[in-house]
Structures are given as structure tokens and as C-alpha cells.
């Protein structure tokens, strides 16, 4: 038993038992971040806050939602939207946040790619981040099932059909996933469980891993400079804040994060109140009808790029292409053969690679929404070929990259 003396304040009492002062030092006041960063570095905090918004709004929706195929649609569109005080607000917030979180994820991902923040000790940050992307995707998909509208039902039908794996015709597997021949009560209940319990737990665990993976390599900076954190921290603590290359998480990084967050929140809540159709597709305001597929069916915008990759090819090659596209981003730390940690603008051919990739996934996204006919199909096919060409070429263009 350790020796405990009488504490003189509540703070001291807690510190004796939980070491809150040490925690504050290690996690906030002396958690060193490079000073040479821009607002894109705040996207992590924006994501954490948005996830918090999703959790809180989800908790309130959960108080009234009914995961029953006969009741689900009306529990959302009648009870929550009309009867519950502020129910409409939780629903709008949840739907818009679920869509906007992917915008921030993509910005966060492409920031990492641009600045090379996935190599030289940061591979686990990248991999845990990609795992978060995959888990968020599953969370979004399972959540979309819940209102049991036309899009919910038919997206459920189509995505679970993917698991028949083309010519392998694994229909038994598809039925097992659904718990039925078609998406029905069993399907809705298990995706409800995934959405409300299992996947959020997985996300929380992965966030912990993601933060943990950051500690040893430290946060990157705009120039990819390798910083001697000990030395720079010493300068800061000695009072030489202007010349130190690092800042403390609290209050320095936090105050900038808060400002970036506040700008984000203005944008976010503007969408919540006045511009939300992109996140609440009108087709999902029709109750699910197993006897009628809507004339236009498409996934949410953040899945469109990989949905488009599925489309130009016949059944089996399409599934292979789609499968590769899901995992290829995981491999960037290993496909990028250059040791340079630097912004893409200083990496010659990689800079071209980056901007072509960005434009290409946007083209794939837009084509994924358009009907697969005529010029749209052709552009989609070209963009898909470019996508794979980019990944194949990455090792080659980075192998002999000039040292920065």
C-alpha cells in the first residue's frame, strides 16, 4: 500500500489517486506538436468532434427508433420527425454528420498522402486510420439500413448480393448474412446491433490505436522535417516559445483546433438546417417495397468512387477490381518506395501522381452517380483504368525519386 498524506484540495486528492497532473502533462500541456502546420492538421479533431456528434445524436435517436420492419420507417419519419421535441434536429444532425464525416475523412486521408505522413515510422498511424475508414464505412452502411426506406432496402439487397462473389454463386452465404432469403426482420435486427453496439466499440478501440500509434513517431509537419522533440521542447519550456519548433497540445494546438472547428460547425449546421438533401436522399422517404426497385439507385456519395469501379467490367472481373480498390489504399506505405517525407510539391513525379489521383477519384465519384450509359460509361471506364494505372505505377515513379 502506497503512502498517502492528507490532501489540501480536491485537485490534490484526485492527483494522489489518479495522477491527473501527470496525465495532463503527458496528454496536453507537454504533448509536443510541430509548430510548422496548417489548418489541415485540425481535421483529426474535427473528426473526433463529428464522431462525438454522431454518438450523441445517435443516442437520442435510439430512444425512439424501432428496429422492426413494420415500425422502423414510421418510428423515424412520424415519431422522431413529428412527435419528439427536437427529434427532427437529432435526425438531421445525425444524417448530415454521417455524410460530412466522410468529406473530412477524405480530406484527412489525402492530407496524409500529400505530406507523406504514412512512412518512416508512421505506417501504423496510416493502417489504423484506414481500418477506421473501413469501419466507418460499415457503420454508415449499417446505419443507412435502419430507416427502412426504398434506398435502405435495395442498398441492403445489392450490397449483400456482392457476397455471392460472382460466378462462385455463394447464395448460401448471402442468405446466411441476411438471415433470410431477402433483407427482412433478421437482417434489420443484426445491422441494428452492428450499428449501435459492435461497430461503435470497434471504432472507439481503433481511435485509441490511432492515437497510440501517433505518440512515438509524433505528428508530421508541413516540410516533413525530422524534429528533435526533446531539444525543441526544452526551448519551449525555457520560455523561448517563438523560436521553438514545437507547440504544446494545450493550449496552443487546442486553441487553433477550436477555431478551425468553429468554422467547420458553421458550415455543418448550415447544412443541417437548410441544405440536407445530399445527406437525406428523397428516395429513402419512400417506405421499403420489396416488389419495386426505384428507377435510380445509387449509394451515398462517399461510396460512389468504388461503386463506379465495379460497373465497367463484367461480373467477376468487376468484383475483383472492386475488391482491390477497397484495400489498395492500405498499401500506400509499401508501394511508395521513396523514403522522402515531404510535401508532394517537392517530390517531382509524385506530385503529378497525387493530383491525378485526386481528380480521378472525383471523376469516379461523379460518374458513379450518373446513369451508366453513353459518354458517362466511357469516362467511368477511362477513370477506372487510370486508377489502376496509378497504383501500378506508384512503385516505379517513387523508386528513383530524388532525395529531398
Amino acid at each position: 500500500m502506497a503512502q498517502f498524506e492528507k490532501a489540501n484540495s480536491l485537485h490534490e486528492w484526485l492527483d494522489q489517486r489518479l495522477a491527473i497532473d501527470t496525465l495532463e502533462r503527458v496528454l496536453a500541456k507537454e504533448y509536443w506538436i510541430p509548430k510548422n502546420i496548417n489548418f489541415l492538421w485540425a481535421m483529426g479533431m474535427v473528426l473526433a468532434f463529428t464522431f462525438g456528434i454522431l454518438l450523441v445524436s445517435g443516442i437520442f435517436l435510439l430512444m425512439y427508433y424501432q428496429p422492426n420492419v413494420k415500425l422502423a420507417f414510421d418510428s423515424v419519419n412520424y415519431t422522431i420527425m413529428r412527435e419528439v421535441e427536437f427529434g427532427w434536429l437529432w435526425r438531421h444532425v445525425h444524417a448530415v454528420a454521417a455524410s460530412v464525416v466522410f468529406l473530412i475523412i477524405y480530406i484527412h486521408m489525402f492530407t496524409g498522402i500529400y505530406y507523406g505522413s504514412y512512412k518512416k515510422g508512421r505506417e501504423m498511424i496510416w493502417i489504423s486510420g484506414m481500418l477506421l475508414f473501413v469501419t466507418f464505412s460499415a457503420e454508415a452502411f449499417s446505419g443507412y439500413m435502419l430507416p427502412w426506406g426504398q434506398m435502405s432496402y435495395w442498398a441492403g439487397m445489392v450490397i449483400t448480393n456482392l457476397f455471392s462473389v460472382g460466378s462462385l454463386e455463394l447464395n448460401g452465404l448471402v442468405e446466411w448474412i441476411r438471415g433470410d432469403y431477402v433483407p427482412g426482420q433478421a437482417f434489420l435486427d443484426r445491422f441494428f446491433m452492428l450499428h449501435v453496439l459492435l461497430l461503435p466499440l470497434a471504432i472507439l478501440g481503433l481511435i485509441g490505436l490511432h492515437f497510440g500509434a501517433l505518440r512515438i513517431p509524433h505528428v508530421n509537419n508541413q516540410d516533413g522535417e525530422e524534429i528533435d522533440f526533446e531539444a525543441e521542447a526544452a526551448k519551449y519550456k525555457a520560455g523561448n516559445k517563438k523560436e521553438a519548433k514545437v507547440i504544446a497540445f494545450k493550449p496552443d494546438f487546442l486553441s487553433k483546433d477550436m477555431f478551425v472547428l468553429s468554422v467547420f460547425l458553421i458550415f455543418f449546421f448550415y447544412l443541417v438546417f437548410w441544405h440536407y438533401s445530399f445527406a437525406m436522399d428523397p428516395i429513402n422517404f419512400d417506405p421499403a417495397d420489396p416488389m419495386k426497385t426505384p428507377p435510380h439507385i445509387y449509394p451515398e456519395w462517399y461510396f460512389l468512387w468504388s461503386y463506379e469501379i465495379l460497373r465497367p467490367f463484367p461480373k467477376d472481373p468487376g468484383l475483383v477490381a472492386f475488391g482491390i480498390a477497397q484495400v489498395i489504399f492500405f498499401l500506400i506505405p509499401f508501394l511508395d518506395r521513396s523514403p522522402n517525407v515531404a510535401p508532394a510539391s517537392r517530390r517531382g513525379k509524385f506530385n503529378i501522381w497525387f493530383w491525378v489521383m485526386l481528380v480521378d477519384v472525383i471523376v469516379l465519384t461523379v460518374m458513379g452517380k450518373l446513369p451508366p450509359e453513353g459518354i458517362f460509361s466511357t469516362i467511368g471506364l477511362v477513370a477506372t483504368v487510370v486508377f489502376f494505372a496509378l497504383w501500378i505505377s506508384l512503385p516505379f515513379i517513387t523508386k528513383n525519386e530524388k532525395a529531398v
Binding site: 489548418f39 419519419n77 486553441s255 437525406m280 428523397p282 429513402n284 446513369p371
Partner: protein
């Protein structure tokens, strides 16, 4: 400065993606039909000035009350809704407010040739007759008689300002479309029942009516509870005006409402599917004000800290 450039790049690519995925893609997927302001230009204007007193007589002599009730003139409907649907496919409307809700050209055209005015001639081919017979006059000048009937209908109806959105909807749409969020069935508002058996008997009557309606229309007209959000105001308005322009071959008749009646129908549908829209606007204003102050204070705090770091 550099950060503003980065922000501009991020905003540019975001807006580009948004444009492609939303406004552009939707314009490709859905044809946009312009509103014709409920002018009904394909219908001829009335040729004569109607006399309401004469019209009251003509109305009775023409046999309209054989199918139509007129509550405003103390003439009840000759049949209950289910028997009417069994005979005609759909319950003939009460005409008390027809004069206020529907365009007069439409009413005149409807009296003379229902299938034509309703734009459902494509459903009544090969000898099939519309359940409402056309009017061929009661012995005098047919055009005058039609004008008189229209004038009579206008004289007995409430003023358009007195007609609530609910009344407009029930009149123009309610005999085919249920709105269960407003407890509206095709045979009337569903009452509260103490005993389960009474409730089930009522539900069974609704189902009977819907069976007759489905046989007549080919498909059960959809429940409109959430249509304001699944189709939107513009689509519903232009659809009422001319269903064939948006869904060629549909069984839905042109409704014939005038512009004010159409607005009331839309308001009813908004109250059903988007009840909290006003609260959303007002809470939104408060939240945006809060957030602008929040951003301003965040900026001041950030600046006070980073002054020492740059």
C-alpha cells in the same frame, strides 16, 4: 496567406464533387418540367356567362345528384363510399367546394367530357367508358347550361380563403390517396376506437374500398404521408397540373385545381411530411448566431495564444 490558398483548393474540389454528384447528376436523372401556372391552356374558356339560379335547376335536372352529394345544399351522397367504389371504382366527390377549388375551364370541360378534362382518355379505349357520363345538355343551349352549372357550383362553395389545407386535400386528392400520418383514409379520417373489434371493422372497410380502387386504377394510389420530402414541392405541383407530363401513361387524372387550391394541398402535405419546417428555420437562426459568436471568440482566444508563438 498560404492557409487561405490551401482552403481555396479544398473548397474548390469539394464544391466540384458536390456539383457533379448533386445538381448535375439529378438534372440528368430527372427531367425538369416547368410549371404552367395552372393556366390549363389546352382547355377552352367558357363561352357563356353562367347564371347560378338557373344552374341550380339544371344541376338537378342533369342528374348530377345521382352520384354526387352536395353537403352545402343539404344533398347527401346517394351511396356510402364503399358501395360507390364498388359501382364506380372510386367514390364520386361531394361538390360543395368544387367551385372554389377547381379552375372553371376545367369544371366546364369535365362536365362535358370527363376523360378528356382529366387526361385519362388513354385508359378508356376499346369501348371502355369513364364512370362519369358526359353531359349532353338538358334540352337548351348546352354551353349556357354548362356555364350555369359552373356558376351554381361557385355560388354554393365557401370562399377559397375559408378553405383549409385539409379541406382542399380531402376534396382534391383524398378519395384515392391515404395519408396515414394525418389519420386520413380514402373513406374518411380514422376515428379513435375503444374496442379492437370496431377498429378492425373500420380497417376492413378501408381495405374493401382500396380493393375496388386498385381494380379501377390498376394500382393502389400511394399513401402521400412523406411525399413532400420524397418528391418535393415542385414535382407535386407540376404533377397535379399534368400527371402525363411527368409519368406518361399514368392512371392519375389531372386534378384541375387552381393555383390557390394547389398551394393549400402542398401546405397540407408539408404539414404531414415536414411538420417542423418552421421550427427548423427558427432554431437554425439561433444556432447560426451562436456559432458565429463562437467562431469569433475562438479566433480571439487562438490569436491571444499564438501571438507568443509566431
Amino acid at each position: 496567406m498560404k492557409e487561405l490558398k490551401i482552403l481555396a483548393v479544398v473548397v474548390f474540389f469539394t464544391l466540384l464533387t458536390y456539383w457533379g454528384v448533386e445538381p448535375y447528376a439529378h438534372s440528368v436523372m430527372h427531367k425538369h418540367v416547368e410549371s404552367k401556372d395552372f393556366k390549363y391552356e389546352d382547355l377552352k374558356p367558357l363561352k357563356k356567362r353562367g347564371d347560378a339560379k338557373r344552374g341550380a335547376e339544371t344541376f338537378v335536372n342533369a342528374g348530377c345528384t345521382g352520384c354526387h352529394g352536395v353537403q352545402a345544399a343539404n344533398m347527401p351522397a346517394p351511396m356510402d363510399p364503399i358501395s360507390a367504389a364498388a359501382s364506380f371504382g372510386v367514390n364520386p366527390p361531394d361538390l360543395s367546394n368544387a367551385g372554389a377549388l377547381y379552375d372553371e375551364k376545367f369544371l366546364a370541360a369535365l362536365i362535358k367530357n370527363p376523360a378528356h378534362a382529366l387526361k385519362v382518355e388513354h385508359k378508356f379505349t376499346e369501348g371502355k367508358q369513364h364512370p362519369m357520363p358526359g353531359f349532353y345538355g338538358v334540352g337548351g343551349d348546352m354551353e349556357q347550361e354548362v356555364a350555369d352549372i359552373v356558376a351554381y357550383l361557385k355560388s354554393i362553395s365557401k370562399n377559397i380563403e375559408e378553405i383549409t389545407p385539409k379541406m382542399a386535400f380531402e376534396d382534391a386528392c383524398g378519395r384515392c390517396h391515404a395519408v396515414h400520418y394525418e389519420k386520413w383514409t380514402q373513406i374518411g379520417e380514422k376515428p379513435k376506437f375503444k374496442h379492437k373489434k370496431d377498429e378492425l371493422l373500420f380497417d376492413a372497410k378501408v381495405l374493401d374500398y382500396q380493393d375496388y380502387l386498385t381494380k379501377y386504377m390498376g394500382k393502389l394510389p400511394p399513401d402521400l404521408s412523406m411525399y413532400i420530402r420524397s418528391r418535393g414541392e415542385h414535382y407535386i405541383s407540376t404533377f397535379m397540373e399534368d400527371p402525363q407530363a411527368l409519368l406518361p401513361g399514368t392512371s392519375m387524372p389531372r386534378v384541375g385545381v387552381n393555383e390557390e387550391a394547389a398551394e393549400k394541398v402542398i401546405e397540407y402535405l408539408q404539414d404531414s411530411g415536414d411538420l417542423k419546417r418552421d421550427e427548423r428555420d427558427s432554431v437554425g437562426v439561433i444556432v447560426m448566431f451562436y456559432l458565429f459568436v463562437f467562431a469569433f471568440l475562438a479566433y480571439l482566444w487562438k490569436q491571444s495564444i499564438w501571438k507568443e508563438l509566431h
